[in-house]
Amino acid sequence: MNSAISVVLIALAFGSAGAGEQTPSVPPEEAPAARSTDKIDALEAAVRRNPNDPASQYRLALALRGADRRADAFPHFVAASELAPPSSDLLLDLGIAYSDVGRYDDAEKTYRRLITLDPSNARALHNMGNLALRRGDAKEAADWYGRAVAARPAYLLAQYHLAYTQKFLGRYDDAMATYMAVLKSEPSSGREQAARTDSLYQMASIELARGAPARAEALLAEVVKIAPDHPSAHYARGQALRQLGRDDEARAEFAEHMKILASRPMGGASAGAAQ
């Protein structure tokens, strides 16, 4: 009973995992501290000394999240938001913190509050799309992602997620155009680079769905060169080759895919519990 397709899939199909919602950049002076246990200890001491200081709470929260201690970070984001006047960055971080602990309704309320204060906040609009998709409402998700792209046209991850929802909804022409926009954008992070590479795969899978295996195969040949560990490209290429009657090559791609599958952790719902 594993939920294999979820919002995680659209976060990024490979590369950086994340919870599917974009984390704002930690201020430059905080970035090294996020990875430092000593620094976290110091920030915790500062919070103990002055628990009513919103800046201390916020710095500790960011440091804990930077160290991927998201559950530990949560109460400090809440404390900071209760102590400080609302700001875009803090509300965005608070929304993400709610999502991190599974309080999606609170996350949505927080993003809506932020969007009321700052209607063109592209990150909040994008994260609203992620929440809608988590609820299974792809139409609403596409609307939020579209608004995020309108607010910031060069926002690569929002473009990428918009294209994914368009594809999911069967709007293949729209999705192809949006994926083209992703390919034309310059990535500024590993996640964005991965999104761009995955866009090639997604375009190929649309070509497969449209019954154009030769075009799909040509794209997928590129994807497997660029990203040989892509979790879906070998399988999709096998599908294309099978449709083209190149069965031996298809089998080789399926074998490669099954090797990648076998190497993946079997996570997700109801995992674990070895007897």
């Binding site: 397709i5 594809k167 999911f168 399926f254 719902a269």
Partner: protein, 567 residues
């Protein structure tokens, strides 16, 4: 993982210049469309008093055993021409494993009333029941029953006098382990029914932590952030069993010789048999939970080979294993080849694998409209022509496994209404949720059959922890129909594996007498043909499993036709 500038420019140019390919060729449109299908809740007053027991109620559930529910079987056990109903029931972990069961057999009167005859018939079962299959394994003219349980399989032979005998041991039905769905089918076309039993987990409650305990959470028995029952991933899977009929009232376990024992067993939940490659023998598809599905191609020599991955029906379009639950095979696009449906978890689409002339399948779930199933957690399924316009619609039973899912704002709920997809030229449109389709419970097994003999297909759905749902098909202005009841001679008496093609008023309608199908359940053995506006079937061609063919001409619509295999 980077695109070089030159390669990127070339790709962009190629993508911009080339025209997009044509959309998938749509199947031929069906006959004139009737009104929306109407499935009325006919449970009240039917006499069906069954309530499902699946361990602790609701949020008290601690183990996987308590979550997957049970199924039912439509069968005519007394041969009176009216469907009777067998409903499997679960148990609790507090009750000893060999405790007499609480399964129910209801005798139908053909008009919508059912009488409990369980005690007289002697089919209450034992232990914790899950699934049922029905078939005349001894070719004596009455329908026998197979029941799967947490510990062993039970074979009930129909004595022909309204009673059954438990012949499991005597007949060699000795497979052990958590059986789920089962299918009677003739694997070797030798004229008797063999038996495939899908199995799930080798479950030992003493070795599995209870939901929500520290040990369970430490073993990541979580769904997103919600503590849930452990498994199936992380629990040992159980091998399926294939029994070959010896022709003398007994079976032999041929799982090893037939090649269905896997180096790593799967978590089998749904099973259906059908001739997907049109080579005249029955193949087997198994829906597996969280691991790749199996398509056992019948090699025609007593052995099977799994071709699921290379045939593109083992995984999603993205190559991911999904949480397969129920399954069915049908020619939903009327191209003469059987397609495959699989129900899956919420936030996975239910899968429709469209056959490409039997060579392989394409996952067309997104392109034919299954996005409507994204939030549903689905189980029983069946392709049937509910509006009788000549193409097969799709009914899916829904309900979540985690009783406290409602608290987490995930866009899904524990109780869910069922879905009826209307086939519109090969696209599936979810029908409005009216009448019986408004009822929301945590549904599981679904069995399909014309219990009131009015010609259309009705549905019985088992719900976890509660009362079931009897859905009577009251579709207004539905098309005409024909039902075909097969009687094999050289072939198995039930005609399982027979393929029947009706030509009527420009329609060409293919049905195959399948084994298994849906989830933990068995459906009406009669083949149902919706005929749109046609008043007769011009030709009815039958390909029997024995290889004989038979053609009937000018068959009037609106009747249940018994067809006997020629000598």
């Amino acid at each position: 993982m980077t695109l070089s500038p030159g390669r990127r420019a070339a790709l962009l140019a190629a993508l911009s210049a080339a025209p997009f390919a044509l959309a998938l060729a749509a199947p031929a449109p069906a006959a004139a469309k009737p009104a929306e299908p109407l499935l009325a809740d006919a449970t009240a007053g039917s006499g069906i008093a069954y309530r499902n027991v699946s361990g602790a109620q609701g949020r008290g559930k601690g183990w996987l055993t308590e979550t997957i529910g049970a199924g039912a079987a439509w069968l005519d056990y007394d041969g009176d021409g009216s469907l009777d109903l067998y409903i499997v029931n679960g148990s609790t972990h507090e009750r000893p494993a060999d405790t007499p069961g609480t399964n129910r057999l209801y005798r139908g009167d053909g008009r919508g009333r059912f009488t409990d005859v369980t005690q007289k018939a002697g089919v209450a079962g034992r232990g914790w029941g899950y699934g049922a299959a029905a078939g005349d394994y001894d070719n004596d003219g009455d329908t026998d029953l197979l029941v799967t349980t947490l510990r062993s399989d039970i074979l009930y032979r129909n004595n022909g006098d309204g009673t059954f005998a438990d012949v499991s041991q005597k007949a060699g039905i000795t497979g052990s382990g958590w059986g789920t769905s089962a299918a009677f089918f003739d694997m070797d076309n030798d004229g008797d029914l063999d038996l495939y039993v899908a199995r799930y987990v080798a479950f030992d409650r003493d070795k599995v932590p209870r939901r929500g305990t520290k040990e369970a959470i430490a073993r990541t028995c979580l769904y997103k952030t919600i503590p849930v029952v452990c498994g199936p991933l992380g629990l040992p899977p159980s091998q399926d069993t294939l029994y070959r009929n010896n022709g003398n009232g007994s079976f032999t376990d041929v799982s090893r010789e037939a090649g269905i024992l896997l180096p790593a067993a799967r978590y089998g939940l749904g099973v259906v048999t059908g001739d997907y490659d049109n080579d005249g023998d029955q193949d087997v598809f198994v829906a597996d939970d969280s691991v790749p599905n199996l398509l056992w191609r019948n090699l025609g020599n007593g052995a099977f080979r799994d071709v699921g991955v290379e045939s593109l029906c083992a995984l999603s379009a993205e190559g991911d294993p999904q949480a397969g639950m129920g399954t069915d095979m049908a020619d939903y696009d009327d191209d003469g080849w059987l397609d495959i449906g699989v129900t899956n978890f919420s936030q996975e689409l239910n899968s429709i694998f469209r056959s490409q002339s039997g060579r392989f399948f394409n996952d067309v779930s997104t392109s034919i409209g299954m996005q409507a199933s994204y939030s549903d957690l689905s189980w029983g399924m069946g392709f049937h022509d509910f509006d009788q316009d000549g193409d097969q619609d799709l009914f899916i039973a829904n309900g979540h496994v985690y009783p406290d899912i409602d608290d987490y704002g995930l866009g899904t709920t524990f109780n869910q209404p069922n879905t009826l997809y209307v086939n519109e030229g090969g696209r599936m449109r979810a029908a409005p949720r009216t009448a019986g389709l408004e009822v929301a419970r945590s549904f599981r097994g679904a069995a399909f059959g014309d219990y009131d003999n009015d010609g259309d297909v009705d549905v019985f759905v088992v719900a976890l922890d509660g009362a079931p749902l009897l859905l009577r098909n009251d579709t207004p202005a539905a098309g005409s129909w024909l039902q075909v009841s097969l009687r094999g001679r050289a072939s198995n008496r039930d005609g399982v594996g027979a393929r029947v093609t009706a030509r009527a008023g420009g329609l060409r309608v293919l049905r195959e007498r399948k084994g298994g199908g849906s989830y933990l359940s068995a459906s009406d053995p009669r083949l149902h043909f919706g005929l749109g506006g046609a008043t007769k079937v011009e030709t009815l061609e039958i390909r029997w499993p024995s290889g004989r063919t038979q053609t009937l001409q000018e068959v009037p619509a609106g009747r249940i036709l018994v067809v006997r295999e020629p000598e």
